[in-house]
Structures are given as C-alpha cells and as structure tokens.
C-alpha cells in the first residue's frame, strides 16, 4: 500500500538518493534528514584489532514528510544508520543533518536534547517499561520536557486512542499482545510531537499480518512527519514512499517503492 500523502514531484526531485554526494545540493527547508559520505566502523578501540565497517560512504536525503524505507539484510548497516540519524552514535566520518542541524557538530548532551524535542524512536523489541501502564509508558518522554502530569496523561490517552488502544490504557505491557505493545511504542514515539520518527525493525517481533497493520498504523498516525523505517521485511515496504537499499554498509539501490515493482 503506497502512502497517500507522498511527496510532490518537485519534492521528490530534491530528495533524490545520492551515490557520491560530491555534487549534491541540499535545501534545508525541505530536507528533514541528510547524510553525506557517512562512514562508521565498529571495534576501532585500542583493544580491538579488527574493525567492522557498518556504513561506508553513505549519502542520502529524506524530504520533510517523506516515509522512507531503509532495506537490507541483517548486518547491512540499517540500524547503524538510524542510530546515527537519531544521535545515538557518532559517525567516524561524514556529516549528518537533521532538521537543518549538523549532528556531528553537536555534543552528546545537545544530541540528546535534539532527540528529546524532535525525534521519536520505535524499536524492534518495543522496550516498554514493564511496571508502567501503557498510558504511563507513552507519557514517559514528556517527563523530561517538564510537562505536567495531567497534561502527560491527557496526551498519552489521546495518542493511545489514535493507535486504537483506548481500552488498554491502564494495562501493563505484559497484559498486551506483541502488536499492541508495538502500538504503545509508536504512541510513545509520537507523544512529544517529533518532526522525525525512526523505526528500527518495528515488525521484527510480529507476525506478517500484524506487522503490516502496525506499519500502516505508524505511517497513518505519523501523518505529515518524516519517517524512516529500517527493515528487512520487503513486503512491509509497501507503506513507504521510497526505499533505500543497504548492503554491507553501502548504499546499493534506491527509488520509489512503486518503481521497484
């Protein structure tokens, strides 16, 4: 299922995938996420002699409001790319631009602040806090922003309604199915109203049917937000506007999902 609110032709021309990045031009007003010649290696510490290159010279742009799939087999570097865009990792080389801010120039604290205010994360294993109700889990990110408890509860309830869990608000994660837990995680990612949503294998723990529904829901609830979904589930990519393919840490192929059929 292709997303209804896909970027306009004009936008698409600006967010074309870039293979080398040398002749690339960005327009900050329309580009939500931009990676330029990003390289990241693991195991570069002094005690580890062998290094693994997770990303090599990867460049791409994602337009504001675009839903992009980051596809590739395990170990291809999709999660690393999301972690770098989310400010959880610093690349060894290259620049990462999120909403007009160069993440590589920010300190760890500033990256955390940017994540708090502008980025929502959805994880494969949900990572809900087991002793908190669904509503409290969703409200969690608002604590750091100093939102009052009443307002936190109100907004969490609103989001849970949107993901169809209005009758499960006070349930603990252990009382919810996998699909329901992931819907709670989606609500948590969106509760602080971020401009960018990063979903790392959001269907990895779900059966195919449930996974597809969760992805549809994610894209639907994300509305006009920029969404990057890392997955190895090709079928789930039907909900995206465009696909970026990674293999062994390198960008191999990119294009609109419909173009690949």
């Amino acid at each position: 299922m292709a997303r209804n609110s896909s970027p306009t032709e004009n936008e698409r021309s600006r967010v074309r995938p870039i293979s080398g990045g040398a002749d690339r031009t960005m327009e900050p007003s329309s580009v939500a996420v931009g990676c330029e010649r990003v390289t990241h290696e693991y195991g570069t510490g002094s005690t580890v002699s062998r290094t693994v290159t997770a990303l090599r010279d990867v460049s791409f742009e994602v337009a504001t409001g675009e839903v992009v799939g980051l596809v590739g087999p395990s170990g291809s570097g999709k999660s690393t790319a999301l972690h770098i865009i989310g400010g959880l990792l610093e690349p060894n080389n290259g620049t990462v631009d999120v909403l007009g801010t160069d993440l590589t120039a920010l300190s760890g604290a500033k990256r955390t602040r940017l994540r708090r205010d502008h980025i929502g994360f959805v994880f494969q294993q949900f990572h809900l806090l087991p002793a908190l109700s669904a509503r409290d889990n969703v409200a969690l990110p608002l604590i750091e922003r100093g939102v009052s408890r009443r307002e936190r509860q109100r907004r969490a309830a609103e989001l849970l309604e949107q993901v169809g869990l209005d009758d499960r608000m006070d349930h603990l994660p252990s009382e919810l199915s996998g699909g329901e837990q992931q819907r709670v995680a989606i609500a948590r990612a969106l509760v602080a109203d971020p401009e960018v949503v990063l979903a790392d294998e959001p269907t990895g723990e779900l059966d195919t049917g449930t996974g597809a529904r969760v992805l549809e829901l994610l894209v639907d609830v994300a509305d006009e937000r920029t969404v990057l979904i890392a997955t190895h589930d090709e079928r789930a990519m039907a909900v995206t506007d465009r696909v970026l393919r990674l293999l062994d840490g390198e960008m191999r192929q990119a294009g609109q999902f419909s173009d690949e059929q």
Binding site: M26, P28, G34, S79, H83, G86, L88, L89, T95, D97, V98, L99, G100, T101, D102, A105, L106, G108, A109, K110, T112, R113, L114, R115, R116, D117, H118, I119, F121, F123, Q124, Q125, H127, L129, P130, A131, L132, D136, L140, P141, L142, I143, E144, R145, G146, V147, S148, R149, R152, R188, A192, D200
Partner: protein
C-alpha cells in the same frame, strides 16, 4: 548545515523544571517498585543488610551514650555549664579537668533570674573519709554544692539535709561558719561503718594516720547529717559518693583560691524552655560550653573519650559496610536495568536525568533500609537493656534518643552518597546502541 535548531521547552519557566524533577522522582520510585517486583530477594536482602548495619549503629551509639551518661546525669539539670574540654564529673582522680572559676558569684547571678529555679556549682574531688576514732578509711568522691532553698537532687543525693546556701564562703573570704554537714550515700556509710550523727574526719591525705594528723587541730569537724539510700549514681563510678557544701570542699581541696567548680547546674522555672537561660549562661561563661537537655547526650558522648571512640568506630563501620552493600546492590540493579537506561537515553532523557533517577532510586533504598534499621535498633536497644539488667548490670546500659534516629538516617544517606559513584559510573558507560540492539 547550521546548529541553530530551536530547542523546544529548553529554557521553560521554573515550574517546568520542578515538574520535570517531580516526574524524574516518580520514575525513580517506579524503578524501585519495579525492582522489588523483578528481584524481590535481592532488594529485600539489600534493605535487610542496611537495616542490620544501621540497627547495630543505633545500639552501639546507645551504649556509648549510656557509658557517657554514667559519668554525668544531665537529666537533673535543664542547662549545664561545663568548661571546654571538660563536661563530665569524672571519677578519674589523677587527671585535672578544666574547671570553671568564680562559680559562687556567677551561679548566684543566674539564680536571681526569674526563669531560673536554682543554679548550683558542682565541684567533685576524691577525698579520704573515716568515722572519727575509727581506723577504717575510705576514698570517696566528694561533691561540693550550694544547696538551694528548695532542695534538689544531684546524682541521686538530695540537698535537703544540708543547710541552704554556703555560709563558709562568706563572700569569698572562706572564713564563714563551717556547717560540717556531710550527706553520705548508703554505700559510703557502709564502707566506713558510719551512722547518722557520727563525727567524720575528711582530708586529702591518703592514710588514716596522716588524716588524723591533718585534722589534729580539731578545726575540721564534720557530721554525718544524713545517709541516703541511692540505688546508683553515675558520677562516682566505683567510688562511694558524699555531698557537702561547696566552699567547705573547696577549702579541703585547695580550690578556694579561684572559687573553682567542675560545672554549674541550672534548673529552669517555670517555663521548660531553656533558650533564654542558655543564652544567659553563655553570656556568663563565654568560654565555656552550655549544654541543654536536648543536646546533652551528644555533648556527653563527645566529652567521654571511650564513648566517643566507640560511637565513631560504629559510625565508620556502618558507613563502610552500608556503602559496600549499597554500591554492590545498585551496581547489580544497573546491570540488570541497562536496557531501561538505554531507553531513557533514546527517548531523550539527559545524562543528568538518567543519573538522577539511579541516584534517587539508590538513596530511596538506603533510606528504606535506614528506617527499618532504626526500628530494629530500637528493639535491639530494649533487648540489650533487658539482657544487661537481667544478668550483669544494675541499670539499663544503653539509652535511646530521637536524635539517634536522625543520626542513623544521616549516616545511611552518607553511606548511600559514598556508594553512588560506582553505579553512576556504570550508568554513564551504558552503551545505548548495544542495549537497544
């Protein structure tokens, strides 16, 4: 690419920060509850170990306070003025304690206050005593006082049998009438076979012969005015106690030059508040220590070397043991909670917030242990006293004060704070990416 992205709510009003900290506190409490559910045994063991340590601290401190109270019973005075470095009516006779001077005048000044019922100096000196004509001499601890018009009890001895005032003092000339009155404890009376009305010989000398030689002029005549049945007294330790007028004791012991005493005891009247009297006492003796019933126990511990050493060792051991327990337990919890900590990081909790959550959780656990420890310590003190009085001690050996509870909480929190660096270090080095997969 620029770094000027607006940060929403970054510098919001103060209320926003307060709400954030309240929220973080709630998350910390959640984490504690969650821990109790996930690893109940480990949590209970940690609380129990902290509690036992704190309970032992309370008991040992109580015993130390009891030891110190054996040297001085501050309950007989609302305010005590003691010299700096002194403060006990020590029975150690070969050590010169610091003493107060000009005590008659200053205690009289205090006595004139409307809010003071009585003020009397107390001077303690070891003397030899015997019944006139007897060869049985005994070393006693003589306590010189100025008996007030309304009798009071000092170290279990009532001043009632003594003539009020101190006639021999005679405005500092020490040539007034000697009353010769001596109140003996039943223990002292038994030691020298004295009965009421018996003449006594008293002196500083160490043998009966020299004592008789000293008193051969016949000018120092003393009479057993009363024998008081006192169960115990805390001032004299193993020495029997006797009481006489201050100036007469000063004359015997040579302390009349500077009108010396070990302390001044003040009873307030009628308002139990001691603040004004305490202030007046401090003005009277600016270089002395003024103790009230509220802080006397701590001062007593401070002024007694053995009690001080005991309580300090207990405190150090408690801090070290508690710190080790807390650090180990908190580190284990952080290790188990790495994913949660990583989630906090991923959803935008700052490093400071993450550290604060772990710190609050750890200190809350410590506080819980301390509270349980105080309860156990209270019970332990009661049991200790019961066992002691049923076996070897004539009276309870440990005391318990509300301040001990605050002290125990403070010690536990210090231990908690000392234990924090290790779990916080583990939080700081948690690899968010690894934990989130």
């Amino acid at each position: 690419m620029s770094g000027d992205l607006p940060e929403r709510n970054r510098d919001g009003p103060r209320g926003r920060r307060i709400r954030r900290w309240i929220g973080l506190f709630r998350v910390a409490i959640y984490r504690l509850v969650s821990r109790l559910r996930q690893v109940p045994k480990q949590t209970v063991v940690t609380v129990a170990l902290i509690a036992v340590t704190i309970a032992l601290l309370v008991i040992v401190t109580g015993i130390a306070a009891g030891i110190a109270a054996d040297s001085a019973d501050e309950s007989e005075a609302d305010v005590r003025i003691v010299p700096v470095g002194g403060g006990t009516l020590s029975s150690v006779i070969d050590v010169e304690n610091a003493r107060l001077g000009n005590v008659h005048e200053t205690s009289a000044t205090l006595d004139e206050r409307e809010d003071v019922a009585s003020a009397t100096p107390v001077f303690v000196e070891a003397l030899r005593i015997q019944v006139d004509g007897s060869d049985e001499t005994e070393t006693v601890l003589a306590m010189g006082v100025v008996p007030p018009a309304e009798p009071i009890t000092i170290e279990g001895l009532s001043t009632a049998p003594l003539e009020p005032g101190d006639p021999h003092f005679a405005n500092g000339t020490y040539d007034g009438t000697r009353t010769g009155e001596v109140v003996l404890t039943d223990e002292a009376a038994a030691a020298i076979n004295a009965s009421e009305g018996d003449s006594l010989e008293i002196g500083r000398s160490t043998t009966a012969a020299t004592l008789r030689q000293e008193n051969s002029g016949g000018s120092l005549e003393y009479t057993t005015t009363a024998i008081e049945d006192t169960e115990t007294n805390s001032v004299s330790g193993e020495l029997p106690l006797v009481m006489l007028h201050l100036s007469e004791l000063q004359s015997i012991s040579g302390a009349d030059d500077d009108d010396l005493a070990d302390q001044v005891l003040v009873k307030t009247d009628p308002d139990p508040s001691t603040a004004a009297v305490e202030s007046a006492a401090a003005d009277t003796y600016p270089n002395a220590t003024v103790q009230t019933g509220d802080d006397g126990q701590v001062e007593l511990i401070r002024s007694n070397d053995f009690a001080l050493a005991t309580s300090l060792v207990a405190m150090i051991v408690a801090v070290v043991i508690c710190s080790l327990f807390i650090a180990t337990s908190a580190a284990l919890t952080v290790d188990k909670d790495r994913q949660t900590i990583a989630v906090f990081a991923a959803i935008g909790f700052s490093a400071r917030s993450r550290l604060a959550i772990v710190a609050v959780t750890t200190l809350s656990l410590t506080l819980a242990g301390a509270l349980v420890g105080i309860v156990l310590g209270t019970i332990g003190t009661a049991v200790t006293n019961y066992v002691a009085t049923a076996t070897v001690a004539p009276e309870p050996i440990a005391t318990l004060r509300p301040t001990f509870g605050l002290y125990a909480i403070a010690v536990a929190l210090v231990a908690g704070v000392l234990a924090l660096p290790y779990p916080l270090y583990l939080v700081a080095r948690t690899n968010v990416v690894t934990e989130l997969g």
